[in-house]
Every structure is written in C-alpha cells, then in structure tokens.
C-alpha cells in the first residue's frame, strides 16, 4: 500500500513510541500527587513542556496541553471570545478556508452566544490578503483567526504579516497550525501569534494529544473546568505518556524539518508535473509555490472524488479528497467554493500528501496507475 495521506495523519515514529514507553506502567503517577510516583510524572510533564516551549520559542507556562487540535482551537476561540465579551467585544474575524474546528466553533459562537463573525475572502489560490484582514478589524473585534497552512490545498498563509497587523491594532491573533506542525517554522515570536494550535498525530506523534500556545497576557476563559491542571486553563489529569510523545515527536520533526522539506519538495514537483502532463483536464489547486512541500492537490474534472478514492484504494493507493474530517459527505468542499470554484467542479478534488515513508518509487507507481484509474472513473459518468 502506498500511503499518500500524510495530511490526514502519520504513523507514530518508533523513537516516539520508545520515549512514551516508561509512562504506562513504570512512571504512572498522577502529576498532582505528592508522593514519588506523582512527582516523577510531574517532572516528566514539565520536562516535556520545557522541550515543547523551546521549539516554539516561548515560556513553558504559555503551553496548554490538550487532547487534540480541535480542542486547542475550541479553547482558543471560545476562551478568548468569552473573555472579550465581558469587555463588550463581540466581533470575530476569520477566513472561509479554515478547518471545521474553527469554522463550526465560530458559527456556534455566532448562533448561540451572540457574536458577529466576519469572513474575509481569499483569492483563487487560497491566499488571505493581510490588508483585507486589517480592513475588517473594528473597535469591538475580539479575535482574528487565520490558519497557518490549509489542509485541503496546502496554501501557506502570511501569518507573520497578519499577526503584526493584529498586534498593532491590539487584537489577539489565533492560528490553527495543525497542518504546519513538523513542516513549517513554529517560532511564535517570528510568527507574531498570540494563540497557536498543534496536533501531535500530524507530525508522527500519537493521536489524542495536542497543544495550545497562549501568549502571556492573553485573556482566556477555560472551556473545561475542574482541577487546577494547566494553570487552570484546561482541567483534567494530564495525559503524561501522550504529552511526552508530543514533545519528542515535535523535537524530532522540527529538527529534521529542513532536510525532509527539501526531499518532499522534489518528490512533489515530480508528482505534480507528472500528473498534469499525463492526465488531461486536471488542475492544481492552491498556491503553485506558497504551499507545504509534500502537499499536492488537484481538481480532476469530469470525475467524482468518491469513485476516484475507491478506485485508488483498490489499486493500493491511500489518498483523500481533502479533509479526512469531512469524508462520507459528497458535498463540495467549502474550502474550494471559498476559493471561487463552482460547487459541481469542486466534487472532483484529489489530495495526495507525501511524508516520511514516501519514495521516488511511490511517486512513479502513482504516475503509472493514476491515468488509467481516472479514465475509468470518468467513463462512469
């Protein structure tokens, strides 16, 4: 099987599995307990927090560990919005191409908590215009949320520029960096972000653990209350083995990032050029150059994504149409319609995302099999 869906998830790095192994049965204590077992667990937790903070260029106290990227986004958006509402600020700004974790959360805030959301359009490549974000800012704006890199089309947004604008205007800035983890630079100072969400399973860590960076001084109400874990910002006993796994995976992935990015970029260029040359009526979606190195996304005109993915699976190729979180619904991607594509055209979306396991041989196999598969699926219409 050729796995070309690294944007959906990645296998756990064996070095990460190894790092997690002491924390199941040996060091199993509750980090809040006062005895030795608890203290050792607390030490592991704080050590992981320190290593994570070093990668992000922030203070350890600015890291909140969560259960996943979606929870991190929810905590950022709801936490900041509800805190700002206390000061009368009820306006939120985002883009149409955000992950559902952001879009549905903001929709919920608008529908049930009386917030107003401005959705700033993107161009045909999925790029956000920082000036348009600035123009949308009002005196009552509580938060700006723009993703770092798009999951469906791979476009990398001008986060540092948007962050500089938001800071100048005194508005907290959140970025969903789930796709960028292990792939793009994550220094929160250079990025000018106040809140940044990550998920470990996108960078060869375990599923079920994520983090939210919260810049010191950012007003945020907890969304999950209970004990005083994570400085009262996220109640619940800390998942020590997974957090150790996240920290280790992040260190490894960010450490190997540049060499891996160069390798993936070369593979992707071959893949994209090969597909566009071999199959008629296919277009690359997203930005041609400002995109994640291993990310290739297309519209295969005259084919529907569902048939394509099934035929690819039967041919031993694991691919997706866009977001793994939206599978099963043959509706056009809101990301693509947000970029100006017609809803019927957008049904032919195909995403191939390369990662550590990807080889030149994989790319050549896909290039050999895909044209025949597309032709067969198109014949069905």
């Amino acid at each position: 099987m050729i796995y070309l869906d690294h944007s959906a998830t990645t296998p756990v790095d064996p070095r990460v599995v190894e790092a997690m192994s002491p924390y199941w049965t040996e060091v199993f204590g509750n980090p809040s307990s006062i005895y030795g077992q608890g203290r050792r667990a607390a030490a592991a937790l704080e050590e992981a927090r320190g290593r994570t903070a070093a990668i992000l260029g922030c203070q350890p106290a600015e890291i909140v560990f969560t259960s996943c990227g979606t929870e991190s986004d929810n905590l950022a958006l709801r936490g900041v919005a509800l805190a700002a509402a206390q000061k009368g600020r009820r306006h939120l700004i985002t883009t149409p191409i955000e992950h559902h974790a952001v879009l549905h959360t903001l929709a919920d805030l608008a529908e049930h908590f009386d917030f107003e959301v401005t959705i700033v359009p993107v161009d045909h490549t999925g790029l956000v215009d920082p000036a348009a974000i600035e123009a949308a800012i009002r005196p009552d704006t509580a938060l700006v949320s723009v993703m770092y890199a798009n999951n469906e089309v791979g476009t990398i947004e001008p986060i540092a520029e948007i962050g500089a604008i938001a800071r100048r205007r005194g508005v907290p800035f959140h970025t969903d960096a789930v796709q960028a983890g292990g792939i793009l630079p994550l220094d929160v100072q250079a990025l000018n972000v106040d809140l940044l969400a990550l998920s470990a399973h996108k960078f060869y860590g375990p599923k079920g653990v994520g983090l939210l960076y919260v810049r010191k001084g950012t007003r945020l109400l907890p969304t999950q209350t209970g004990g005083s874990q994570e400085r009262g910002r996220r109640a619940g006993t800390e998942n020590v083995p997974y957090i150790v796994g996240l920290a280790t995976a992040l260190e490894l992935a960010q450490g190997e990032r540049e060499a891996e990015a160069a390798r993936l970029l070369a593979l992707r260029e071959r893949l994209v050029a090969g597909i566009l040359a071999a199959i008629p009526d296919v277009e690359l979606t997203g930005h041609p150059t400002r995109r994640m190195p291993g990310h290739a996304s297309f519209l295969v005109h005259g084919a529907d994504a569902q048939s394509l993915l099934i035929a690819l699976d039967l041919a031993g190729i694991a691919a997706s149409s866009g977001s793994a979180c939206a599978v099963g619904t043959p509706t056009a991607s809101a990301v693509l319609t947000g970029m100006g594509y017609d809803a019927t055209v957008a049904l032919g979306a195909l995403r191939l995302t390369l990662g550590r396991a990807s080889s030149e041989a994989d790319v050549e196999t896909v290039l050999a099999r895909l044209p025949g598969i597309v032709a067969a699926v198109r014949g069905n219409r």
Binding site: E111, P330, A376
Partner: protein, 367 residues
C-alpha cells in the same frame, strides 16, 4: 488474476452469504452499500436539518455490513447515490401516485440504481460482475442469451422485482444465493459465523421514515392528495374521498358510504380525481395493458403467445394470452378474471420459471 466482483451488501444474511460464496469461488470481492435518499427529518435544536436515514442504509446496517466485510477480509465502501435515487425512484413514486397509480419503487430502484448507477460504478472500478443477495437465478437459453429465472426458493423468489433487467445487466449480474432456499442460506451463514437475520424486504418503502406512504405523500406531494368524489360505475356521486393515494384497488373498508351491498374500490381515476367503487362482483379484471415492456431477451415477441402473468410481488401467476402491440406495450387477456390488478404495479410475464419481462400496468378492463 482473480476477477473482481462488486457485491451490494446490506448487512443482512442474504448479501453476506453472497459475498462469502463468491470469495470461496475465487473472486476478488469488493463490498459496497449504497447511501440512498431519505426524507429530511425534523430540524434539530441547532436549527440544522439532517437527513433521516433511509432504512436500506441505516447506521446499524452500515455497521453490520462493515463488520461482515471485516470478517471476510474484503474492502467495503459506502457509495453515495442519494441524488440518482431521488430523481429515478422517489420522484417517479410521487408522480405515479399523482397519476392515480400504485407504483412499486423496488423495480425502479433495481433498474436505475442497483443495475444502473451501481453497475456503472462497478464497471468503473474494473469489476467484471455485480452481485446481490436476490433470490433469483441467471440462466442461458439455447441461443446463448441470458435468462432471468425464479429463485430456487419459490416462496422467497425475487425475480419479479428484477424483471426490469436486460441482457447487458444479466451478463454481469450474479445472484449467488438464488440457487438456495432461505433455510439453506441461513445454515450457510451460521456455518461461516455470519449474520443470520434478514434486513429490509424488497417491498418496504425504504425512503419513508416511518413507512407511512400516505403521510409521506401528503407532506411531499400535497397536489396528489386532494379530496374528490366517490362515484359508482354509472357516475353517480356516492360520497367524498380524502385523496386518491389513501386508497388502493380492491380496498373495502374506510369508504364511509352506507350501501345495500359492500362496496370496493374499483379504480382510481386521476383525470377526474375520482374514486370509482362498486360491488365485489365487479372487482375481477379480465384484461390489462402494460408498458413500456422490458423484454429480458432484448427482443419483443413477434406474435401473441400464451404464458403466465404475475401482477404483484407476491401474487400467484395466472395463465393469459399476451399480445405485443406496435407501440411497445402489450395487451394481457387472462383466462379467468383476476382481482387486485392495480395500475402502477408491474405485470411480469413468466414461462414456467423463466421471467420473460415486464411492464407497468397502465389500465385494466373488466372483460
């Protein structure tokens, strides 16, 4: 390399055994379930309207079918066919009732969805065959043409709902359980650790949330449900009806008319929006006209012939003379008048166990 076959799986005993048998015969088996249209459910608290699940593809059915596929070690996919199902089955169902007919949507589904949409899908996946858990058999005639034959279990036979198929479909169709009886299929399932319970029966209205087609029509095709006159054969108004879809031919009760002898529904006259009633003696129909005809062989018979005609899914076939007409329809003259001959249902023509074809009953006559 093994031939690839796509199996339409429901999670029930018949299609599960079908998949298992094909696997044992050496095919590369791919399981699929179609996601079909269902009427929208009531809005939820959040204001979003979610589709109710079609009873052919409920969460439980998907779960069961996936479990069977997992057990057999075959891939399994849920394929979206909502739009095609709505357009080719549900809308025709509504239009049929609006025209005073009593349609059978299962035939439309087999023709346009299972052996239309899904068969094309199977071909695009490189499959040589499409298999289902129907109780029917494919035979070959003396000239090498494909025949549609009744299932070996006469009580479970489903050839009636497949009578819309032709040579192109039968060439690729496999009915692996068609040669077994239902008890034999259950035993095959039990021996393989597969589910032994049946899913939805062919005849249920899978897309209607509560199975109440009268409520469904009132909500989705209000124009088809208009009160009108109840007339006798002579055209005298005996009372008022609540809307033609609330009645079926042969129905006795619920007319709300006091008469010297019991009255039965004889006809739904859509043109006049009238319910025509009469005594039991007038229920028998000696003739019907059906069309457009599907001839399984692909060839309409050149001359009138004698065969048996089945007027409903579970009805006993009755001997008749069938005369093909130039317009693609045919005239069926029964040896003895039949009760319950209902426009909208199919008249399927059989020569013994071989189904020759069918057409939708368009109108009937007493003699």
């Amino acid at each position: 390399m093994a031939e690839r076959v796509v199996v339409a799986m429901s999670g029930g005993v018949d299609s599960s055994v079908a998949a298992a048998l094909l696997l044992e015969q050496g095919y590369e088996v791919v399981g699929v379930m179609l996601r079909l249209w269902s009427e929208p459910a009531a809005p939820t608290l959040g204001g979003t309207v979610e589709a109710a699940t079609n009873r052919c593809c409920t969460v439980e059915a998907v779960h069961d079918a996936r479990g069977v596929a997992e057990r057999l070690g075959i891939p399994f996919y849920v394929i979206s066919a909502e739009e095609a199902f709505k357009a080719r089955v549900v809308d025709l169902f509504i239009a049929g009732y609006a025209a005073g007919q009593t349609p059978n949507p299962c035939l439309a589904c087999n023709r346009h969805i299972r052996f239309g949409h899904l068969l094309r899908y199977a071909r695009s996946l490189g499959a040589a065959h499409l298999a289902t858990g129907h109780y029917a058999q494919v035979g070959v005639d003396a000239g090498g043409g494909y025949q549609l034959r009744r299932g070996a279990d006469r009580a479970k036979d489903q050839s009636y709902v497949l009578s819309v198929l032709g040579q192109a479909e039968l060439a690729q169709a496999l009915f692996p359980v068609g040669g077994y009886t239902k008890p034999e299929v259950r035993a095959l399932a039990a021996a393989r650790g597969l589910p032994t319970a049946s899913r939805i029966d062919s005849q249920d209205l899978c897309f209607i949330a509560d199975g109440d087609y009268r409520r469904f029509l009132a909500e989705h095709a209000a124009e088809a449900v208009r009160p009108g006159p109840i007339l006798d054969r002579a055209g005298r108004e005996l009372g008022r009806h609540r809307g033609l879809p609330f009645y079926t031919v042969g129905q006795r009760s619920g007319l709300g008319i006091a008469a010297s002898q019991p009255l039965y529904v004889l006809e739904l006259d859509a043109a006049r929006n009238a319910l025509v009633v009469g005594p039991a003696g007038e229920l028998g129909r000696g003739r019907l006209w059906a069309g457009p005809m599907n001839w399984v062989s692909g060839q309409a018979p050149a001359a009138a012939f004698r065969a048996e005609v089945q007027i409903r899914y579970r009805a006993q076939p009755a001997p008749a003379r069938i005369a093909p007409l130039p317009d693609g329809t045919c005239e069926v003259t029964f040896d003895a008048a039949q009760r319950g001959v209902t426009p909208g249902q199919a008249a399927a023509i059989y020569d013994g166990a071989v189904c020759l074809g069918s057409g939708v009953i368009l109108r009937t006559a007493q003699t």
